[in-house]
Symmetry: C2
């Protein structure tokens, strides 16, 4: 049962949300609720950059869904603050939750307002901007595929820069709407910054040296939680690069999918990640078998996506301060800017 603490600001009972592994639908996931959790907050030690980041206030929309909650925790971990109000799903009762990051041991209360109450949300955003500064309030969206386009329209109307982590919706309309309004947003199908970097490296390699692995045979195995029916999109993208490097006639159908517990365990997936993981291993093997290259990217849980999302917010806050006109940025833009820090 979801308890509703409404607008209560009292600290006597804290509602602490810990993100559990991958829910398929952010709004429908039921969080673990811990009452009277004792929090020991460590003293904040900030460098000048961290001090800048501390000025960033992030409205994380989609809590108490586990992906939104993980992103909120990552924002705290990376030195940013959460806005005291955020948007939740239309069917979720208004409530106040406590977001707690176990790594930094930072915590912050957030009051969740259903997405149907647009006027209250709009007034709150106005208030946040006048409190923290127009350019210091940004949103993260981990809501629902059906909400992607209406939420994006709302952010544009509110002049609220946003990072869209929610997949689905009409993506072309999404991109066109944001670019047309010269609005600031990071929109990416995969927020895992390091995986995007790895994919980019392989794409670059296949463009620079196509055919350099001619006569090498490709193999690919990937394991995901049982609920994922389709083949890994990342695996497909990597295979696109590998088939440029090699002349092997490997197709997506040749990707070996593992969707059972025993297969996953044999593949090296930890037992606690059975319900949420993305493990991949690719090999390129020479015709005579004497040389083999292998690449693995193995993810348990959602930390990498949450932290990539927080990095995207930091990046976007920088763009908002430096550029007059906004546009849609990608994770590649986030990665490139990271090198300039």
């Amino acid at each position: 049962m979801m308890k509703n603490f409404g607008n209560s600001r009292g600290y006597s009972i804290l509602l602490v949300l810990f993100s559990s592994l991958f829910g398929t639908n952010a709004f429908l996931a039921s969080p673990t609720i811990t009452l009277n959790q004792k929090l020991s907050v460590s003293p904040l030690q900030m460098s000048s950059t961290e001090s800048d980041d501390a000025g960033i206030h992030v409205m994380v929309n989609g809590m108490p869904g586990p992906m939104a909650t993980a992103a909120a925790e990552a924002c705290l971990r990376k030195g940013m603050k959460l806005t005291p109000v955020a948007m939740t799903g239309p069917d979720i009762e208004p409530m106040t939750i406590m977001v707690y990051d176990p790594v930094s041991q930072k915590s912050q209360e957030v009051r969740l307002i259903p997405s149907t109450q647009k006027e209250e949300l709009s007034a709150s955003i106005e208030g946040l901007k006048s409190s923290y500064g127009e350019k210091n309030v940004l949103a993260i969206d981990y809501t629902h595929p059906l909400a992607v386009n209406s939420n994006a329209d709302f952010y544009v109307d509110q002049k609220l820069p946003f990072v869209m982590g929610t997949t689905g919706g009409d993506r072309e309309k999404l991109m066109d709407g944001v670019n047309g309004a010269k609005h600031f947003a990071v929109i990416a199908p995969n927020m895992a910054k390091q995986i995007v970097a790895m994919q980019a490296a392989l794409e670059d390699l296949s463009r620079k040296f196509p055919g350099s692995f001619a006569s090498y045979k490709i193999a690919c195995r990937e394991s995901h939680q049982k609920t994922k029916a389709d083949t890994s999109g990342t695996a497909k993208a990597v295979i696109d690069s590998l088939t440029e490097l090699s002349d092997d006639e490997f197709t997506y159908d040749d990707i070996e999918m593992i969707r059972d517990d025993q297969g996953a365990i044999d593949f090296g997936v930890p037992e606690e990640a059975m319900n949420g993981h993305a493990f991949h291993r690719y090999t390129l093997t020479s015709a005579d078998g004497t040389t083999q290259f292998a690449l693995e990217h193995n993810v348990s849980g959602r930390t990498i996506y949450a932290e990539g999302t927080a990095d995207a917010v930091k990046f976007l806050a920088g763009r908002v301060k430096e550029e007059n006109d906004g546009k849609v940025y990608s994770m590649i833009d986030v990665l490139e800017a990271g090198g300039l820090e």
Copy 2:
């Protein structure tokens, strides 16, 4: 015992050399000698490109050393021809050997002339050029570190384009001499084309997105034959890139070296490769351990180096035909040209 067939052209007794795994010194390695080996030569099917390659005649210097012999086999396999004479070490008796490539089942006789007999070698090279065309004769050098500079000088004097696979010697003098003479050469410390490509991809990634794997921990294990005392140079180069991507303070001393049979077997090295292999595994692991990237490059024997050398010869033959002035090319140049084919 090494048999000397001198200038004999008779086919009644064939001396067939099979390259064995990695000798530490090309000239001192003793090849397996098979007498009266029956050869079944398959019909030559050539595309137009292969037809061009068939015009290339390669003087493979350093046979019967195993690396030179493997390179000669790779030249046959990749559709080129061997010159009927080549240079061998000063202490090796003149002899005629049969180079046989088991994959293409092509074979060719080569008479080896000791490097001390420079006048005979010089006259032979003149003869080869007038027979096959000035631009169709190129050399491969897998000789001895002590011979690197004098051999390079000899090739420059003879206007003989060359691929230098031999390591050691005075490298600066080597590069300056070739570039100064505008001579055509490929000189590379590592002829394994695909490993060079992988290293380049990692270097590019670390230049484009430095710090993108901040907070990730680096680990590296490598296994080589027991006779290799020092740490893998490729591992060091890869670590240079990984430490740009991550902020982990990983040093070369943290590379875990495996130099014993049991350790190698546990690491996945095939038993037949105990005396010649180069296995590497690197991991980047996120601070909370939920994400791991892994890269492996595992080489048994010397095929990858031999085939990279043959690819370098093909590349160099193209440059000789298209450019007026030569220079030192690298394996990156070879890789880049490969994409244009």
